[in-house]
Point group: C2
Chain length 159, copies 2
């Protein structure tokens, strides 16, 4: 098993493991993305995301997808959008290795923070994160997440 | 009053209004950023953030700071990190204009979503967002926000 940076040709398998993650998150209808979109957005001239994968014999066992964000308090940050390891391959440290790859990329760019989100019912992940020293900001500071869909965005600017 | 894209020479005033926002958020010791850091990160060869400002007679009355993120479900997204209008200038639609500038930038790049966060005690802002059609994802789906500081990141990769 090797941890390596994702390549354009991983996108078909990457799309499949994104679906596995959505199923695990109990939101199977969530992913509307295509492999072609991932290829364009992650491996074109402007990289909207970066990705590390765990691979064994040509199979993706897991992935960590991230990008760089900005805090007006502390500057550059790395945001881990997804961290997923297939159920059969958990408990072997693969998730930690993928996560460390994200953190290392953040440290290399002199990021002040690593941020991510987790569903409140996912107690095993919450414990995994807290064991590593992460703070639950929703609990500690009361941050709530808001979203506008594209439809709402369009209606909002048209008003 | 005009809404315009921030320029490098705004960074000293921008640092001052970031402090005002932190004071309003009851976290006055939060901002450790300098005007020089904002100049380098937002106006150098790699733009880690974008910013729209509300200006009147050379004074910044408010700002909206944003960047582009990525959803593995829907693709490109715009994240509004800060939206702030000075107390004396509220109720005139300045916040809505700044917010619309962020949304427009997101729509131009074909973003599928606009995301942001808000503190749970900030009822007036929550109502302002919900009136515009935004969903509170922490309430609707149970998303919690986690963070590692740089010190924890360094300790984590060293383990």
């Amino acid at each position: 098993m090797t941890i390596r940076t994702a390549r354009r040709e991983d996108c078909t398998q990457l799309r499949a493991v994104i679906q596995e993650l959505a199923d695990y998150e109990k939101m199977p209808d969530g992913p509307r993305i295509t492999a072609e979109q991932l290829e364009k957005d992650g491996f074109g001239p402007h990289k909207f995301f970066h990705c590390e994968v765990a691979e064994s014999d040509g199979q993706l066992l897991g992935f960590a997808l991230y990008f760089f964000t900005y805090s007006t308090w502390e500057g550059k940050c790395v945001f881990m959008e997804d961290l997923y390891v297939q159920p059969d391959h958990r408990g072997k440290g693969i998730g930690t290795k993928l996560w460390k790859a994200v953190i290392s990329a953040g440290l290399e760019l002199e990021c002040a923070r690593c941020n991510w989100q987790c569903l409140d019912w996912n107690q095993s992940s919450i414990e995994f994160y807290e064991r590593a020293g992460a703070a639950n900001l929703s609990k500690a500071e009361g941050w709530l997440s808001f979203r506008m869909t594209r439809e709402v965005m369009m209606a909002f600017v048209a008003k």
